[in-house]
Symmetry: C2
Subunit: 189 residues, 2 copies
DNA sequence: AAAATGACCAAAATGTTCATTTAGTCAAAA
DNA sequence: TTTTGACTAAATGAACATTTTGGTCATTTT
């Protein structure tokens, strides 16, 4: 990958996480990256594609971190929790995801909405893979993997994001307990 | 209750469900109700209060229907499912709730957003009561009733509303199965 | 006297105009 | 061949004019 391309991506990522997608101009990105504006368009066909590429690498990063949290010696239940925990901690602490989620909530920029939807879909797909592996190994009973991954994700959103809108936040510990006693019990064989 | 008050409520409810809250004018409501505009303000202090009153009676109606679905001879699991099923069927089929939910999604009218949030909160409170009753009777294990009701409601939203955004809708039957095998197992004693 | 009304008003929403900004292009420079 | 920034067409938004609308209250009706 060329050096300029990397400069551009880094500048854009920084600007997006500082000011948001909409408030970032291509002139600004060019300045921050120390390249002419035209150069950006030799690597990315539009501002939107630039965002998509950045989010794609975030997706890889999250998957990588989630993988790192998994320990083959532990049970499926423990691993799925560790992975989801990493995913949601990332979401909550990473400057760029914070800013982009804010932008969707406050302004609803369509390009950002779409890209964050894709992030969710990819996280569900990731969990789905783990479920399919566990089914193949006989660690859990057979189930609709897509639907189960979807429910796990939604439950995590509910506990991590929605609950806090009207109540005191739950600790990681508490979330893990709830997830285990409510959702995972239904998956045990 | 005076006759005019009823006329006004009926006219407003009809107009809200036909055109939405924002697109309904007080002149229009007055015309439809065959009263002078000033008369409306002898019963309701603002347009917003008119909406609140109408939604309050919808809440009563939903609770009433949910109660009717409950059969003391059945188990807690069966009853909670029957109640939630009624609640969500109402939400999906009642003209006014459909229109108001659309308006929140598409325009985000604050008054409507608030009132629909209250509806959700009240439904959660309703489920919570059922959970507390069941705990008192020893039908289910002890748990945080608020949190459990919240999770039940969120799971129903996920299955009834969110899933359909990207997949084929689930049948009532299927939703009941999932709810039972995933969430309710965690509550059994 | 009490209840009902609709003309009226301030404020909010909406439409319109116009100057500025910005995504994307491309001829020229490096 | 690669990089660039002046350029353009489109989008945005500030400023202003116009219309609509929620709410009031003096007057009318019962």
């Amino acid at each position: 990958m060329s050096d300029k391309r990397k400069q551009i991506i880094e500048a854009a990522a920084k600007s997006f996480s500082l000011f948001g997608y909409k408030a970032t101009t291509m002139d600004q990105v060019a300045k921050m990256a120390n390249v002419g504006k035209g150069t950006i368009y030799t690597f990315f066909k539009s501002k939107e594609e630039l965002l998509e590429d950045i989010v794609s690498s975030i997706i890889s990063e999250i998957k990588h971190e989630a993988d790192a949290a998994i320990d083959q010696r532990l049970s499926f239940n423990e691993n799925v929790q560790r992975a989801l925990q990493r995913i949601f901690t990332f979401r909550k602490e990473h400057e760029l995801t914070i800013k982009l989620l804010q932008e969707v909530r406050d302004i609803g920029t369509p390009a950002v909405r779409d890209v964050m939807k894709r992030l969710d879909r990819e996280m569900i797909a990731y969990v789905r893979e783990k479920i399919e592996e566990a089914m193949a190994k006989g660690e859990i009973r057979l189930c609709d993997a897509e639907l189960t991954a979807f429910l796990m994700f939604k439950m995590y959103i509910a506990l991590h994001v929605d609950w806090e809108k009207e109540h005191e936040p739950l600790s990681q510990q508490k979330i893990a307990e709830l997830f285990d006693s409510y959702l995972l019990k239904g998956l045990s064989r």
